[in-house]
Amino acid sequence: MSREWPLWEVFIRSQHGLAHKHVGSLHAPDAEMAVNNARDVYTRRNEGVSIWVVRAADIVASSPSDKGALFEPANSKVYRHPTFFPMPEEVKNL
């Protein structure tokens, strides 16, 4: 077994109402210390109101080589964007 502490990915919610955002990673022996370490490493400048940590090994990611098959088919399907509706002038901020 590796003597290194496992890697954790850190997600911080900066203010109420916003989603947690990935801010970086760190090493910690378990979840509790990962949260403590995240607090010490990533919230020193008042960045957060909430912390999530997840073992980096537990994240399942898409492969970069699958990019073409996964994402390119959506390129040519502009009709999936709701851009064909005339917006009334009164409606702001959409």
Binding site: L26, M33, N37, R39, D40
Partner: protein, 252 residues
């Protein structure tokens, strides 16, 4: 002991010097922590304590004259009023964390007690400090459990640190006439409940850490609060005060 006519001034210097010297000790580990995350955490604690130092010494300076900087950088060892615990060497990481844990436990219960101080300014400092100190205690207690209940090697080192530092863990509860005067005025928190809370919390954490609690009735070192220090403080001050001694008035 330096002449201290005002018990409140002495009380403020004692609190401020504790935070100042422990902060300096932890700052020496900046860049040398056992892991990046621990390094950052120690440095954060050092900065928290330095912030608290400023509040205590700024208040002390109002009573005595001068300012927080002259108090921090131009007093010699016999004029410093920190307890002996904080000037003990960083040693290995078990030593550093055990010193921190003893200090944090006392500090936490003291700040709780000072929340209701009759001195509004002191109550305010306690109010500002308590959140930081709560986290310090949570962290150092957690690490004591991990180190104590870790490998045979980490257990042995942590028990050795607990035993070696124990004789410095009682001074904070040994009140002299100046402390008693502050308690009588409702400014300071009484010693007996603080010590009971200290022993209870240390006992709980040690049980979880599979460590043996040293004898609570053991003889305790004393003198730091009155300005009689171990040989370590002189070296700490030599480094901490060098710049202001060599280049008086130098600014960032």
């Amino acid at each position: 002991m330096a002449h201290l006519p005002d018990p409140k001034l002495a009380y403020l210097l004692r609190q401020g010097d504790n935070a100042l010297i422990l902060s300096q000790q932890l700052s020496q580990l900046c860049g040398k922590g056992p892991a990046l995350e621990e390094d950052m955490a120690l440095t954060n604690v050092a900065l928290d304590l330095l912030g608290q130092t400023r509040m205590w010494l700024a208040y002390a300076a109002e009573l005595q004259g001068g300012d927080e900087d002259t108090l921090a950088f131009l007093r010699d060892a016999h004029e410093m009023h920190c307890c002996l615990l904080v000037e003990q060497p960083n040693g290995n990481y078990a030593d550093t964390m055990m010193r921190q844990f003893y200090f944090d436990t006392w500090h936490y219960f003291l700040m709780q007690g000072l929340l209701t101080s009759t001195d509004a300014r002191i109550a305010q400092i306690a109010e500002k400090s308590i959140k930081e100190v709560t986290y310090h205690l949570r962290r150092s207690g957690d690490l004591v459990v991990r180190l104590g209940d870790g490998t045979p090697d980490s257990h042995a080192k942590t028990q050795a640190a607990a035993d070696a530092l124990w004789m410095y863990s009682g001074e904070m509860f040994l009140y002299d006439a100046l402390d008693d005067a502050m308690v009588a005025q409702g400014v300071a928190a009484a010693s007996a409940p603080l010590r009971a809370a200290f022993l209870e919390h240390v006992g709980e954490i040690f049980a979880e850490a599979t460590l043996t609690l040293p004898d609570p009735s053991a003889w305790m070192q004393r003198g730091g609060k009155q300005g009689r220090h171990t040989e370590h403080l002189g070296f700490i001050l030599a480094e901490m005060q060098f710049l202001q001694r060599a280049y008086p008035g130098a600014e960032w």
